[in-house]
Each structure stands twice: as C-alpha cells, then as structure tokens.
Amino acid sequence: MQAAGQGTGGSTGDADGPGGPGVPGGPGSDAGGPGEAGAAGSGGPQGVGASRASGPRGGAPRGPHGGATTAQDGRCPCGARRPDSRLLQFHITMPFSSPMEAELVRRILSRDAAPLPRPGAVLKDFTVSGNLLFIRLTAADHRQLQLSISSCLQQLSLLMWIMQCFLPVFLAQPPSGQRR
C-alpha cells in the first residue's frame, strides 16, 4: 500500500453536515496520492477527478469501469432537480496492497455515504474490485461537491495514516484474532 496525500490539511470536512463552513481547499488538500482520478470536466470544479455528468442533451459520461453514470436525464438521484440542471461527478481509484485493505476502507468510508434527505446532497459511492477502491461523488452543486471531495480525501488520508500505524500490528496477529 502506498501512502496517500501529504497530511490532512486543507478545507473543512463534513460537506454533508449542516452548518459546515465552506472553506475552499488550502495547501495539502490535493489528493497527492497514487490514486487515479477521472478527467476534469469543463466548467466544473477545478479539482482532480471532476467531470460533468450530462444533462438531457449530452452523451452519458463513463464511470471507472466504462459503465454509464447514473442520472442521465439530469435528475439528481438524491432528488434535487433544477431546470436544465447538470450533475457533477468526481471519481478516484485507490490501489491498496491487498483486497482486505481495500474492503476495510470501503466499509469504513461507506458508513457516512448515505445522503441527507435534502436538495443538493452529495451522493457517495464506494466499490471495491480486487485491491482497488473506487470512489465516486455526485452532486448537483459544485460547491457541495468541492467540500465533499475535500472531506473524502481528508478521511482517506487519515485512514492511510491509521493503517500505517496499526496495520503491521494487525497483520502480525495470529489468524484466530485472539481476544480477551
């Protein structure tokens, strides 16, 4: 497993929580790691991996595996809809040393993935294939997406740090995982 981004600095996390201040990313907020991110779209957020999902007139953009993304008719899956709304997506692929690690990170991050029942909520999708973790964030609002990207990358960075500290100990334990 390769180390992820350079620390946990940058903008505030918890894009989906009410009342979180919208501070744009600062130093260290880029992904910076080995993950492969989707292409940036025109007119969308300038962060890595942002792409613009099509509205009613454009062709469907592709996800990490080439599959069409959701919401091809411009309707946000979380229920928000504006006249001629466009959906924005960010996706990143993170390789891990083993499928176990990828799955562990997916389980932990996906706990907070359920969108809040309000317009503009960001959809988060975490999937694993082998040792690869795929993260996809979808939003109708670029500011929400920007915050969510920053939050997600900060959590990833923190997870990497935790696993660097404790994973070697975890792997050294006997397979039965003895407990008191």
Binding site: P18, G20, W161
Partner: protein, 316 residues
C-alpha cells in the same frame, strides 16, 4: 485510564481567539493529534491493543466535522483490532464521569457548557430532560459577551468573565427569562450587548459590574430550574457537570440552594468538568458492560443527539 491531552502549539487558544471553535479547524486539529494521542495513551498505560475491551467514541451531539473525524478513527481501529464499538452520547459522558468522580448516586444533574444547558434526572432507564435552554447555551452566552467586552480568550473567555465578575460591585438589572422549566439566554445577551456600550460609555458601570450582573442573573435562572426539578423528583442530590460547572460562583449559588433544601451538591474540578475523552471512555465502559454494541452500520455521528434518546440499561 491514561490521561493524555494534546494541544499543538497553543492551538486551543488560537482557535478561541478567532471566532470560537470552527468545525473545520477543530476537525483538522483532531486529525492531526489523534493518532499520537492514541499511541501515547497506550504507552502511558502500558497496554496493547489486545488489552482493550472496546472502542468508545462520541456519537454526538456536537459539531459534525470533528465528530466524523474521530468516528472514522474509532471505526478503523475497531476493525483492525477486532474490538466492539460503542457510540456514546456526549452529555451522558459528562453525567457518568460526574457520578464516578463524585460518588453521587442519583442526582439531579445541571449540565452547563458552551454547547448545552440541560437539567437532567434519571428515571426508568432514561436520563430525562426536565428543562433546558430554548436557544443558546449559558456558556455560549458568557463567551459571546466576553467578545463584546474584548476580554481575552486565554485561558478561556468564561474563566476570564468569572475573574472579572469577582471584582464587580454593582448589579445591573437584566432580563430574567425562565419559562417554566426552560431558560432563554439569547434575549439577555442581546440586551446586555446593547446596554454595555451605552453604560460603559457613560461610566454608569464597569465591565466588571456587567460580568457580575450577567453571572448573577443567568446562574440564578439555572439554580431556579434545578431546584424545581429537584422538588419534582424529591431529589436530595445535585450534580453540576460541563465546562461552566467549573465556575465557582455557580457552585456557590447551587450550594446555597442545596443547603436550604437539605440536599447535597456534587461538582468536579476542571479536569473532568470540561470536555474530555475519559468521560466518553467511562460512559462507554458502562454501556459495554451492560451489553451495548454499536454495529458498524450504525456507527455514524449525530449532531443533534438528545440525552434522553439513550436507553440507560446500566442503571436500575
């Protein structure tokens, strides 16, 4: 329990010196120090991960970003160490730590901090909220008034207000807003912000007088609703928890009320009044022993987590 705390380069004071605790800055601080803190706690206590029985974390209430940051760590460590997870209500953490430290058996609890103001009593496996603020917390009121007076945030605005109040001599009449079992502070704050400028400019009073007057007014309100709850419950014990519970004047006023009722007052010092991890561990321990477990799927955080939402199965 190992006692570790971490502020990095006076970060706590710097945070308060701005506009209070900002969620993003607080979350960033937590992420920066939490793993070192965890390692330090294990080292200082001489324990390893195999000695740990469960991982307790704050499920809420509180600011979202910091809560999520710590919840992520708790989940990860629980997964890596294969330990059960227990999500703890912050308010109940205060109560259980207060009961442990003071030995109070079944007190009426006055929980007062920058974020919460509640009068709580235990009944039938719930910590029932008998009264609370209907707007801002009492600590928030004091802190925001400190900004009006441009009082230093070092070590904390509430502490400095308290020290200034000791030098106050004149009681300025302020709105007294007790509404049944509840209290309201936002109107008092608006009022005193307005009169402060006028009265200080004309020399009618000093900043110390205003600090004294504000404390006397808001603390009297808290004493009233606590006493009412004690009368309702027939309680002979009162326990003050939360950061504002460190205030000596509040403790004096509560002690006077308890003495008049033949009741006993319990309070902790600043090590345990103010938010701390040990109180979460203590409540988590009680919950764990009673069989509470938080599945990974339920291990999110709740910014608005009511004290009475938790089933208190560890008490009769």
């Amino acid at each position: 329990m190992a006692r570790c705390w971490r502020t990095r380069g006076g970060l706590t004071s710097r945070l308060l010196a701005q506009v209070g605790f900002l969620p993003g800055d607080t979350a960033r601080h937590h992420r920066a120090v939490i793993l070192d803190l965890l390692q330090e706690a294990l080292t200082e206590s001489g324990l390893t991960s195999q000695d740990i029985d469960c991982i307790a974390y704050t499920k809420g209430p509180g600011m979202g970003a910091p809560l999520v940051s710590v919840a992520v760590v708790a989940r990860t460590v629980a997964q890596l160490w294969n330990k059960p997870l227990v999500g703890v209500n912050h308010c109940i953490g205060h109560i259980e730590m207060g009961r442990l430290i003071t030995g109070a058996t079944s007190p009426t609890v006055l929980y007062v901090s920058g974020g919460n103001t509640q009068v709580i009593a235990y009944s039938e496996h719930r910590y029932r909220i008998f009264g609370e603020t209907i707007d801002i917390a009492v600590g928030n009121c004091l802190d925001r008034f400190a900004r009006v007076l441009k009082v230093s945030n070092d070590p904390s605005p509430g502490y400095n207000i308290e020290q200034m109040a000791k030098r106050g001599k004149k009681l300025v009449e302020l709105p007294y807003t007790v509404k049944g079992m509840d209290v309201s502070f936002s109107g008092i704050l608006s009022f005193i912000e307005d009169v402060a400028h006028r009265m200080l400019a004309t020399g009618e009073c000093t900043p110390e007088d205003l600090c004294f007057s504000l404390q006397e007014t808001v603390f009297a309100m808290l004493v009233e609703i606590t006493e009412r709850a004690m009368a309702h419950c027939g309680s002979q014990e009162a326990l003050i928890v939360g950061g504002v519970g460190c205030n000596v004047r509040l403790q004096e006023m509560m002690a006077t009320m308890c003495q008049e009722r033949g009741a006993r007052l319990f309070a902790t010092d600043e090590r345990f009044c103010i938010d701390n991890g040990a109180m979460i561990a203590q409540a988590g321990w009680e919950m764990f022993r009673a069989g509470h477990r938080t599945p990974l799927g339920d291990s999110g955080v709740t910014q608005r987590y009511r004290t009475d939402e938790v089933e208190v199965t560890w008490r009769d």
